[in-house]
């Protein structure tokens, strides 16, 4: 029976306990429960750990494999460092929701069947919405509702696919498949919605920046990366994903370039980075899958680091736009340095985790002779440096002197950022530390002089392009329309138009209603008479009083008619 207890349940218990406990006990739970979960993650052996009967299905809530443990490890680690970052600032309900959310992600990592996967999937959708609501502003409330609607819709699509798959195949096993029929397409679409793939990608950049400075750190880690894991488990080698991934990569860059809100820049770069992973799953070779898994691991660390750095800036200054910030490096050295390390890592600069993990994906594309994919991914690597690697630190910490002199991060936030910065650098300098935990054995050398020279040229000349094109990239006090425009503006507009079109119909119906009522009134007064009219002659036909003789005559006629009909 203990085999059946998913490490996710430790996080569930911790989330409930956070709500009950107070003071130091609560802090202790926030900090130790993820570490306990991390320990439990590494106690899960390979293979299915028993099953539970549910209706006529055999559920397998815990299934271990190197890939699953790798994802569960980073999710637990994220919960720990995120908890450390957030525990003094975040409300208890935000922490509890974040822990439920992490539990969902860890549960998906170990889910051995589609039903368990779906349950944990929905747990994530519910509690990530709560985390967004913890932003506490009207904007976060509205964004949370939009987020919830979209994710519940995604859940329904996924469920339709799972039901169809279970009915047609009779199995609830998680097995690799290709998008060939309606069911597998539905499953793929359901997962891709969570991966922020087009066309419904706008939820991410809409919702994440509206959460609290601590909430966005948790949000950046779980939903999209569990979707990547689900894609690796269910759709490795599905060629559609290559195109989807490339689109996401480019979309993320272009929108991040247009953005002014610092967390929205980071949100778009989440889409961009997940695009690399989705593309890798589409390539589907062992090297590519290793690349997707390693990149997901590294990405969670540096993206959370970037969100932490942005979170500290927002917490200390109360401002979140590039146009209002600048020159903060003078009084926020720790936040600036950690932010820069995160920015270098996301740009896959040599000696950072991005370089050692993202290059696996490019290598996989090259090995498969996918020239366009390789070229576009390389161009995108340059673009990442442009939109996140330089743009984020430049506009926040340098640029102009905004006159702001905020204090640096509080100790717990600084410590969380330092831990993640260290991981970014360590995985960059000692790539074998992550390589040996990847799902497949591989012969791969991260650092060759030629590769380093190539990437340095690529990235540094992107940097040159950034500084030469700065006048073109002057931030403006604007937002950019995304597909969420469709449901925030176009749909209400169509609805209003429809309402307007219906107005003449309404007039017509109200006019005919008056006519109808008049006619009925005429009929009733004609045959049943007006109420309260004392005079016999004024009464209508059926309302008059009749002599008793007429009544008995009518009774006699009716009775004889009845007798006649009876005998016939």
């Amino acid at each position: 029976m203990p085999d059946l207890i998913s490490p996710a349940l430790i996080m569930v218990v911790a989330a409930v306990a956070i709500g009950i406990a107070r003071g130091h006990l609560r802090t202790a739970i926030v900090l130790f429960a993820p570490l306990l979960t991390l320990w439990a993650v590494w106690q899960v052996p390979d293979g299915v750990q028993g099953s539970i009967q549910f209706l006529s299905y055999e559920l397998e809530p815990v299934e271990g494999s190197p890939l699953r443990r790798l994802f569960a490890t980073i999710f637990s680690l994220m919960a720990f460092v995120g908890g450390l970052y957030a525990f003094r600032l975040a409300k208890w309900y935000e922490l509890a929701a974040a822990f439920f959310y992490a539990a969902g992600a860890i549960g998906v990592s170990f889910a051995g069947d589609l039903i368990s996967l779906f349950v944990y999937w929905e747990l994530m959708a519910l509690f990530s919405t709560v985390v967004i609501w913890c932003g506490g502003t009207p904007a976060s409330r509205a964004a949370g509702i939009r987020y919830a609607i979209l994710h519940l819709l995604g859940g329904v699509i996924l469920k339709v696919g799972i039901e169809g798959f279970v009915v047609s195949s009779g199995s609830i096993q998680i097995t690799p498949m290709l998008a060939e029929d309606f069911n597998s397409w539905m499953i793929l679409c359901g997962i891709l919605i969570n991966a922020a793939a087009p066309p419904l990608s706008a939820w991410l950049a809409d919702a994440y920046p509206e959460s609290s400075p601590t909430g966005s750190v948790f949000l950046s880690a779980f939903t999209t990366k569990t979707a990547v894991l689900a894609l690796i488990l269910l759709f490795p080698g599905e060629k559609v994903l290559i195109g989807v991934g490339i689109f996401m990569v480019m979309y993320g860059i272009i929108y991040a370039l247009l953005e002014n809100d610092i967390r929205r820049i980071l949100a778009y770069s989440v889409v961009n980075q997940v695009g690399f992973m989705v593309c890798a799953v589409g390539i589907g070779t062992e090297l590519a899958i290793n690349g997707a898994a390693a990149h997901a691991f590294a990405h969670i660390v540096y993206k959370a680091l970037l969100f932490m750095s942005a979170g500290v800036v927002i917490y200390r200054t109360g401002r979140n736009r590039c146009t209002e910030l600048g020159g903060l490096f003078q009084t926020m050295p720790i936040t600036a340095v950690c932010g820069i390390i995160g920015a270098l890592a996301i740009s896959s600069f040599p000696l950072t985790s991005g370089f050692t993990t993202k290059s696996l994906i490019s290598q996989a594309a090259a090995n498969e002779q996918l020239m366009w994919v390789y070229m576009l991914l390389t161009a995108a690597s340059a673009g990442v440096f442009l939109h996140a690697g330089i743009k984020f630190p430049w506009f926040v910490f340098f640029q102009k002197d905004s006159g702001l002199r905020p204090k640096d991060a509080p100790w717990n936030m600084a410590l969380a950022m330092i831990i993640f910065s260290a991981i970014c650098l360590l995985l960059g300098i000692f790539p074998e530390w992550i390589y040996r935990f990847l799902p497949y054995e591989m012969e791969y050398q991260a650092y060759t002089p030629g590769k380093v020279v190539f990437y340095l040229q690529l990235l540094l000349f992107s940097g040159l392009a950034f500084f030469l094109l700065l006048p073109l990239m002057k931030r403006t006090e604007t937002i950019s329309l995304d597909v969420d425009w469709l449901w925030r503006v176009a749909l209400p507009r169509i609805f209003n138009l429809f309402k307007k079109l219906c107005l003449p119909l309404k007039d017509l119906s109200s006019r005919s209603e008056t006519k109808c009522r008049g006619f009925l009134q005429f009929l009733t007064s004609r045959y049943l008479g007006q109420p309260h009219t004392a005079d016999r002659e004024e009464r209508a036909v059926f309302a008059r009083s009749w002599p008793i003789g007429t009544t008995s005559l009518w009774i006699a006629i009716l009775l004889s008619a009845y007798v006649l009909i009876y005998y016939i």
Partner: protein
């Protein structure tokens, strides 16, 4: 501003940084003379391909984003106003 300017923000330092950056750029290109860069599709093995490709793709992305911005950019309160209407 009364306080002393940070040394990093002085024009002299910035000029020096530009010089330093230019030298580093030149060195990364020159490094290709010493270390062989393996091209997977011939073009990417050409001399200074990384530099040119990086620069050009960034140029294209920025210009494309700028053009798209004309179409997509709206004032900050674009959605807020709409919510008030509703």
């Amino acid at each position: 501003m009364s306080e002393k300017r940070h040394w990093l923000t002085e024009a002299k330092t910035i000029r020096k940084l530009w010089w330093g950056f230019s030298i580093v750029l030149a060195l990364t290109v020159a490094a290709q003379l010493i270390w062989y860069v393996k091209g997977y599709f011939t073009v990417d093995g050409w001399f200074a391909f990384g530099a040119v490709y990086g620069f050009l793709s960034c140029l294209i992305m920025v210009v494309f984003a700028k053009a798209l911005g004309v179409l997509l950019k709206r004032p900050n309160n674009y959605y807020a106003e709409r919510d008030d209407d509703a």
